[in-house]
Amino acid sequence: MKKLINNPSIVVEEAMLGMARAHPHLLRAYFDPNYIVRADAPRPGKVGVLSGGGSGHEPMHGGFVGAGMLDAACPGRIFTSPTPDQIEAASHAIHGGAGILFIVKNYTGDILNFDIAAELCQASGIDVATLLIHDDVAVQDSLYTAGRRGVGVTVFAEKICGAAAEAGAPLERVAAIGRKVGQQGRSMGMALTSCIVPAVGRPTFVLQEDEMEIGVGIHGEPGRERVALQTADEITDILVATIFDDLPFRRGSRVIAMVNGMGGTPLIELYIIFRRLARLCDDRNITISRNLIGNYVTSLEMAGCSITLLEADDELLHLWDAPVHTAALHW
């Protein structure tokens, strides 16, 4: 295992210390329980937007804490959802009297821990709404399963709900806008290599030189299928076809598109993917109105990428364009 770390068991805490030192104007970090809040929290009268999940997906979520996006982030250990006490403490730290939206990625661990935290918050008089993100079309959806994973759409939901809350929308409205984002967004990812969980020290799975995994998540879990390595264009075609078919995205619609690196993929490759994605959208008469290209929802040092498309109307584009001041998104 080759990593720039000191000790696998304190990776998250040391990185949080680094973030706090780097961005004192944006955020503050607290420990035991661990959470990050925006520097000016709590904002009286504003809905708090809180997210969290396992670490290893940086910049998500801590990199999205700041004006116009998240009020708080609760990082768990690497790939392990945070615990209820973290979420409860962060909620108290950001509570401005207008309630809190939990943005939760659909993983059993995240759901259970956020559920318990919501019970605890509600017991102490904080109004909580939960927005569940489950956008990963690689996973078969069904009433009888855990459903789809939450991946790239989380970034879009955090930005857009954050903008709505910043603009003064009440909790129910912020949650409703988030649900719209969830309904209209879809993602799919792939991996060229596995990642290495620091506390494990070995790759979670092993891919040969001529293999790739299609339909991976962001926790080093294996994907939907293992197939022969293909070109960037062919890979883009596979990812996008599954996404297009799922919603389905309509001809003439506008989208916000993300080409996301998994952590170990050079930016130059992501632009090659975006080039193809743009062409595929042209073919369908879909307009890419906004885009993000880079590492936003990563899986440690995994090489690979994911594509996320969100069908966006004027309201969503307006909220997308609203100012945001975080470590990872800034405009």
Partner: protein, 222 residues
């Protein structure tokens, strides 16, 4: 075999059980993580070890407490230290065992079995997994049934827990051929078949360590 209905299960022996389990989790940390790497995210052993190490550190302070507090303290420690799916699930198990032991400072074997059943029911409610979904429920449900069945038929707690462990082990092994419908492994769809569920494995160890705790040393060979 005759039932030892008069046995008083107190926090001392329960502390032995939890200590023994914590040691087994620590010994099996790599194994549990390896199982989780195959169909999950390679952290189950780490999560459990993290939680039970904290429990083990705090256990001496829990020992004098009433059973409801003893179990609740374990549950809350797991809740705040494990994270992931297993933290709230094992946390719920112990929180519910605490509720089921309200007002008591010792349990009879039947009461212990009942508290365990309440705890497992709590896991089923929290996670809404049914038997066959390839989760810890597949080890715990048959174990709890076997425990009750043996005690009702007059077995000693030792013998009943050995039967429960055997049933739990069978349930754990049965997860190998199952497709996962709950938890992270469900994302793999049919690719989840052929791998033993990590949570079912840690759950089997919980019952096995109970059997070892409640059996006299010479009987505790299985």
């Amino acid at each position: 075999m005759t039932s030892d209905t008069t046995l008083n299960i107190d926090t001392a022996i329960l502390t032995d059980w939890i200590n023994r389990y914590a040691n087994q989790i620590s010994d099996n940390k790599a194994y549990l993580t390896e199982l989780d790497a195959e169909i999950g995210d390679a952290d189950h052993g780490i999560n459990m070890q993290h939680g039970f190490e904290a429990v083990q550190q705090r256990l001496p302070g829990f020992a004098g407490e009433p059973l409801s507090v003893f179990f609740k303290n374990i549950g809350m420690t797991l809740l705040s230290k494990v994270g992931g799916a297993s933290g709230p699930l094992y946390g719920t198990l112990f929180l519910r065992m605490g509720m089921a032991s309200a007002g008591k400072s010792t349990l009879t074997p039947i009461e212990f079995a009942e508290a365990l059943a309440v705890g497992v029911e709590g896991i089923r409610q929290r996670g809404s997994a049914r038997p066959g979904d390839k989760t810890m429920v597949d080890a715990l449900t048959p174990a709890v049934l076997a425990l009750h069945h043996a005690l009702e038929h007059g077995a000693t707690l030792c013998a009943a827990l050995q039967a429960a462990a055997a049933a739990g082990e069978a349930g754990m092994k049965a997860t190998i051929s199952m497709q996962a419908y709950k938890g992270r492994a469900s994302y793999l769809g049919p690719r989840s078949i052929g791998h033993q569920d990590p949570g079912a494995t840690s759950a089997y160890l919980l019952i096995k360590s109970a059997a070892e705790t409640f059996c006299p040393a010479e009987q505790a060979t299985r």
